[in-house]
């Protein structure tokens, strides 16, 4: 291997990449857009959801229960005159959940314990599963607490003197007390961008070079495949490393999501992971005959890679065989590391097993990429 030759190749590659305004534009625009789109879209709360309300009881206790729900301020309550109107609104998607208080509510509340229980009906729009799940986690506890205060000892409403029923669960949220979805998604977005954009840009640029014949010209020079490989991968890796720094800055400045861990460590890990994606791009380019085909192949491989990597849906929610598949994707391990650094501020020592996995996958893929280049030569 000749260091001078690799350097020349690297200079050529860097110049070729940065000369194309379109590629540079993608390098800046895609990460920014991905951060903004993904960073703001996942949410655990129910703020602003429209809650249909039908009060068939119309008694002081039913009004107090509804006032409690309204006072909470999370839902946007909307009154309905009858049950069928609520059902129509659910079909049309105008409301996400509904609370229905039957006429017998007050009577049952005042009756002695042991007789008919007071009943409250809650309907959720199960078509939007996440919304319904969030609303359930929220509404059930709230209604339970409100009823408990209504039925304080003796059954008559006694504001203020309400003893807790059952077991009170005092929750404290660590690391992200406001349950803000942004840092979680920002840390995942690095995985998305570095898996997808890097693979795509590499695959397309090399297919284009093949079509124009410049790649073959390189192969007839005295440079070895390893030198060409390094001459391609290192400058592209450098460009993407700068891109990672840009993303860290953008996420921090625009969205207030700075890593809790060390920034240099994060950039170092990310830069290594970029090389893995580049290698995948090289493999795809070796098997494609046109840029369009390369893009289609990248999309086909990257979509499951990103979806199964835990980017938007936690891996532990998946069935066991799918979890095993997810474990063999480098993206899975990178996103884990990225979240550990961003959210929990972990360092290299704690992350050693994951880092080792990344290293193994990275070297393996680079080996395959090198072989695929030789095979085409």
């Amino acid at each position: 291997m000749n260091g001078q030759r690799v350097l020349t190749l690297m200079r050529r590659e860097a110049r070729a990449t940065l000369r194309d305004p379109f590629t540079v534009g993608m390098l800046v625009a895609v990460p920014l857009a991905a951060l903004l789109v993904f960073g703001f879209t996942i949410s655990a709360d129910v703020k602003g959801l429209v809650l249909g309300i039908h009060d068939a009881s119309q008694t002081p206790s039913s009004r107090r229960l509804l006032a409690d729900i309204e006072a909470n301020g999370q839902f946007k309550p909307r009154r309905f005159a009858d049950r069928s109107a609520i059902e129509r609104a659910l079909v049309g998607g105008q409301i996400s959940a509904a609370v229905i208080i039957p006429p017998s509510f007050d009577r049952a509340l005042r009756d002695a314990p042991g007789t008919a229980a007071a009943e409250v009906q809650v309907l959720y729009d199960g078509a939007e599963t996440t919304t319904a799940g969030n609303a359930e986690a929220f509404l059930r506890g709230m209604i339970g607490a409100s009823i408990a205060s209504l039925t304080a000892r003796g059954g008559a409403p006694q504001p203020g003197a309400a003893p807790p029923r059952g077991v009170a669960v005092v929750s404290r949220v660590l690391f992200n007390p406001t349950l803000d979805g942004t840092p979680y998604m920002v840390a995942g977005t690095f995985g998305f961008v570095l898996t997808f954009l890097t693979t795509l840009i590499t695959a397309v640029s090399i297919v284009n070079e093949r079509l124009q014949g410049t790649f073959e010209q390189l192969q007839v020079t005295p440079a070895t495949s390893l030198e060409i490989f390094l001459g391609k991968v290192l400058p592209l890796g450098g460009v993407f490393a700068v891109d990672v720094g840009l993303m860290v800055l953008a996420a921090g400045v625009i969205m207030g999501a700075w890593p809790n861990g060390s920034i240099p460590f994060f950039i170092a890990v990310s830069s290594f992971y970029v090389l893995t994606s580049l290698a995948l791009g090289l493999v795809i380019s070796a098997t494609s005959s046109s840029p369009a085909e390369a893009v289609q192949k990248t999309v086909l491989t990257s979509i499951p890679l990103v979806q199964l990597s835990g980017f938007a849906f936690p891996i532990r929610n998946m069935p066991l065989p799918v979890q095993w598949v997810a474990e063999i994707f480098p993206a899975t391990h990178y996103i884990r590391v990225s979240r550990a650094i961003y959210l929990r501020g972990e360092g290299p020592l704690e992350l050693l097993p994951e880092l080792a996995m990344l290293l193994v996958f990275g070297l393996l893929l680079m080996g395959v990429a090198l072989r695929s280049m030789e095979a085409r030569a």
């Binding site: 379109f22 993608m26 991905a34 879209t41 655990a44 129910v46 602003g48 959801l49 659910l90 049309g92 998607g93 314990p113 008919a116 007071a118 009943e119 409250v120 809650v122 729009d125 199960g126 078509a127 939007e128 319904a132 359930e136 986690a137 059930r140 506890g141 339970g144 009823i147 408990a148 003893p163 029923r165 059952g166 009170a168 669960v169 005092v170 929750s171 404290r172 949220v173 660590l174 690391f175 992200n176 007390p177 349950l179 803000d180 795509l200 397309v204 840029p291 369009a292 893009v295 289609q296 086909l300 979509i303 979806q307 199964l308 938007a312 532990r316 929610n317 069935p319 884990r336 929990r344």
Partner: protein, 380 residues
């Protein structure tokens, strides 16, 4: 036949479109990569949506610091376990051990049962503390909700007979349209929309720029067809394929996962037409503004992916912050997923999806005008 006559009458307009459509369809038949993508993507997406992805917590690792060590505290732990969302609890000896587990991501929740738990029950002051890992807020909120619910419905009188029994409340709740609240239904109802966006955009974004690159576009322009006839003709075969993909998506979701449309099939077919035309027109638009086919695919890919999110196909749009939520209404996929969820999951008829239907036609009209305006200078 003079050029004027060939471009004038409606009959010629249609036969010109037909000729371009025929040419496009025969070119498509030989594109093996395209055909593979058309059939591979539905299968892959169906499996991902049907089997893999879910927001509902499962296999949640958790730990218990049981300082009470009574039958009451053990019953509480069992009650949490029996909700079915959790793995077997890890017993820990100290608060710091719990924090360490959370920090390493080895537990999502740590339940701390204080020493006076059993005695406090008799005084109606029983309390447990929960520490949650908030890094994944959706999971944290749900898991916290499940544990709180166990507490709220915990029968304290079994361990402390003097305690006040639970409020005689029956909270009857139901999830309409999806009683078991499976994410599968949510994803599969949007399957057709996602597949069609992918298909329409990636196919047509290459169309015009590709023809321009290979020089065949100039051939067509020199023939007596107008640009808009070329565009419509090129789109026609894709409309046919799109309906085949719609059928494939709906029937395979039904056969594999028993998610059949509950509403009107006719309504589903009707709303699909403006959606397909709208998505195709985005592809054509991308194709007219790109200089190379590589650029065209780039632009379309990076239009497709955010649109999956912003439209609410993958993540419910109701939970997005105001501002972001409204951006989605500029996408035909938003309107289509709203309509298809109403039809497939909630059993709606055509009158329930009239607004999305019209909105998508308006979108297509605007795009068509835009494309016509963009293509004009090249003709002059």
């Amino acid at each position: 036949m003079s050029r004027r006559a060939a471009t004038g009458s409606p009959a010629h307009f249609l036969s010109n479109i037909g000729a371009v459509a025929y040419k496009e369809a025969s070119a498509m038949r030989h594109d093996r990569a395209f055909i593979a993508a058309v059939f591979l993507q539905p299968v892959m997406t169906l499996l991902l949506f049907g089997l893999a992805l879910s927001n509902k917590p499962a296999n949640v690792p958790w730990a218990v610091l049981d300082q009470s060590q009574t039958s009451a505290s053990r019953r509480f732990v069992e009650a949490v376990q029996s909700t079915g969302y959790f793995l077997a609890p890890q017993a820990i000896a100290s608060y710091d051990a719990g924090r360490a587990l959370l920090k390493r991501g080895h537990a999502v929740a740590v339940v701390i049962i204080p020493p006076e738990f059993r005695r406090a029950m008799a005084r109606d002051r029983a309390e447990v503390q929960t520490l949650l890992d908030g890094t994944d807020p959706v999971t944290a909120a749900r898991v916290g909700g499940y544990i709180s619910l166990v507490g709220a419905t915990f029968d304290v009188t079994r361990d402390a007979p003097s305690a006040i029994p639970l409020a005689p409340l029956e909270l009857r709740q139901g999830f309409l349209f999806n009683p078991r609240l499976r994410d599968r239904e949510f994803f599969l109802a949007a399957l057709a929309g996602i597949l069609l966006t992918n298909l329409c955009l990636s196919a047509t974004s290459l169309g015009i720029v590709g023809e321009r690159e290979s020089g065949t576009y100039e051939h067509m322009l020199s023939s007596p067809t107008t640009p808009i006839e070329i565009v419509l003709g090129k789109l026609t075969p894709y409309v046919a394929i799109s309906f085949a993909v719609l059928l494939l998506a709906v029937v395979s979701a039904g056969l594999c996962f028993d998610v059949w449309p509950r509403g009107s099939w006719l309504a589903l077919v009707l709303v699909t037409l403006p959606f397909v035309l709208g998505s195709l027109s985005i592809g054509v638009f991308v194709s007219t503004v790109s200089r190379t086919s590589a650029q065209a695919v780039f632009i379309s890919v990076f239009f497709i992916l955010p649109s999956f999110v912003l439209s609410g196909s993958m993540i419910p749009f109701q939970l997005m912050p105001p501002g972001i939520r409204e951006i989605g209404y500029l996408l035909p996929l938003r309107w289509y997923q709203v309509a298809s969820r109403r039809i497939i999951e909630r059993g709606a008829g055509f009158s329930d999806v009239l607004i999305p239907f019209l909105a998508m036609w308006v979108f297509f009209g605007i795009m068509l005008l835009l494309i016509r305006w963009l293509m004009k200078p090249r003709l002059a």
